[in-house]
Amino acid sequence: MSSTAARALPSRTWVTDKIFLGLPFAEYLKSLATPGSFVAGLIMAVGIPVIVYRFAYGLGASTNLSQTNPWGIWIGFDMMAGVALAAGGYTIATSVYIFGLKEYHPIVRPAILTGFLGYLFAVLGLCADLGRPWNLPVPLFISWGGPSVMFEIAWCVVLYLTVLGLEFLPPLFEWLRWKKALVLATKATIGLTIVGVMLSTLHQSSLGGLFLMVPTKLHPLWYSPFIPAYFFISSIAAGLSMVIVESGLSHRAFKSRVDHHVNLDKLVVGLARGASIVLFAYFFLKLQGVVDGGRWALLATGYGCWYLVEVLGFVLLPSLVFAYAARHARATLIRWTAAWTVLGIIINRLNVSVIALNWNSPDRYIPNWMEVMLSLTLVTLGVSAFRWIVNRMPVLNEHELSGIRES
């Protein structure tokens, strides 16, 4: 036999190819040994037992929630801020498929994935907060409670989560090489986008609408009949900013997976223009809210100062910096401003749902370490899921498997 005869390649199963990235199992495990994985593992090692403890011993044992303060950071951060920051899915999909801004097509898939995982983990955070989460299907299928805003939110979130899942089917079917399913899934895109933006308009504003019924509990500076409009408009800025942050981090973390023909800086400049304009309009709406309610005098109080920090520091200032950075095409400054805006949205949602709620009650809520740990664990699980999917499916580079589309 010739000494130069080729050796047969080891056979690769579907699992090796798709799940272990083509590596033997031992090598795949070695590839997971990164500093990021170590930190995530540490968080989950503490967080998952906390989740088990919460469901085993209930809310009283695992949280500082009470009859006076039934909502904590699981609602304020996981649900409210999570849903706002997941708005990138509908904003980018609408921009590309409805408004025809096709140059943003390369960031549609990561935005949809971020939106899908954001909503999924927001719902998981909600399940942790509910006293009897097994009753979640009740308002959906058994006893609607039609007059309640919560009914509309429940239905919209469930439907929109479904829409996001369906919008993410094309990259999934490309990965699985299911051609017929791919054709069907791709044809549904525009219809799903239209339904998605309708549902998002409804539930993003309704999350704010929940607070219309607590005028005596929510601090007057944050309470306004315009809260639904505030929540919806700020969700647009939140979505655009989150897409800027996510795209920057993804392009650094997944360098080998990105489409290097896409000029991401150019797209980011365009997103910054949009975010700047939205934040500028949002600032004036907040100003109108203060005037309409006759709240000027309250600005001179402690809560008033905090309100000014939120509105001036996390709405007006990012709007102006976005405008400057977009005009001068300063992509790095845009990314930092986007992170700052994301923080501002989180602060706003926490202000409305936790900090400024029951502001005059002697019994103030402070989350305990288990609540923080559970929220952190959910975020870590979401990031890990994003990483798992992006490493396998054509999300950052939609041309990776484009042959499957054209064959």
């Binding site: 096709k102 097509h105 094309p170 895109t189 000029n263 223009r273 005037v291 405008a323 042959g403």
Partner: protein, 241 residues
């Protein structure tokens, strides 16, 4: 009711209307600021003609420019100088730019002669040809900070330099404009479509848009030779390759 009581009664509404008017007044300049100077600064003669982009969907051709076949454009301005830049095709041909090496003020340029370099992020450079004869009177200093502006907005903020022309009328006979420029760009696009792989022509169901860095798509290892071929600055070695 005495006047100041009326104001007290309606003060909140007055302030609200005032804020709304203030917002509208501020929004227009804010919008213009965010979009950049190309929307605000328009030379007098171009304002009258109101140029509209035409030509191939991929690389629109503004009607107020004169195009050189090396993919540079020239625009005579009201002050007698001529602004020069690279067209949409050249902007998409080369990938992300690290810098643009412009000629110095006072330097002479000749039509069809190499005048500036586009330096890509991998260090390789391609030269471009000047569309006219003249002396450099002004260069775009913003490109030193933001070279990407030449790609983001090649017909606006991405202008390269301004020239004091020597023989504009004679040079113009060798330049394309209007319908001729459109037809030329259509031919360029047709040639590109014959060369490019199918996945550039369509992005799923939405018809497709040209991606940046066309030269690298055609030949990732020798993209600079490809770019020089299209920009008419190829050396003999490139031609024989």
């Amino acid at each position: 009711m005495i006047p100041h009581d009326i104001l007290t009664l309606y003060s909140a509404k007055m302030i609200e209307y005032g804020i709304a008017i203030l917002f509208l007044l501020l929004f227009i300049p804010f919008w213009k600021y965010v979009q950049g100077p190309s929307a605000a600064v328009v030379p007098a003669h171009a304002r009258v003609r109101q140029p509209a982009a035409t030509g191939a969907d991929w690389f629109p051709i503004p009607l107020d420019r004169l195009f050189h076949r090396g993919h540079a454009w020239a625009r005579p301005d009201a002050d007698g100088l001529v602004t020069v830049g690279l067209d949409g095709f050249a902007a998409k041909l080369v990938g992300p730019l690290a810098s643009v090496a412009l000629p110095q003020i006072g330097a002479a340029v000749g039509q069809g002669e190499r005048a500036w370099q586009l330096v890509a992020d991998d260090g390789r450079a391609v030269e471009m040809l000047s569309p006219l004869d003249g002396t450099i009177a002004e260069i775009n200093a913003d490109l030193a900070r933001s070279p990407g502006a030449a790609q983001l907005d090649p017909y606006g903020r991405g202008w390269l330099f301004r020239v004091r022309p020597q023989r504009l009328r004679a040079n113009s006979t060798n330049l394309l404009s209007g319908a001729m420029a459109r037809r030329w760009m259509d031919e360029v696009v047709a040639g590109l479509q014959r060369t490019l792989s199918p996945e550039l022509g369509a992005l799923a169901q939405d018809g497709g848009v040209p991606l940046a860095d066309i030269a690298r798509i055609i030949d990732p290892d020798n993209w600079d030779s490809v770019a020089r071929t299209h920009l008419l600055t190829e050396d003999k070695e490139d031609a024989n390759a």
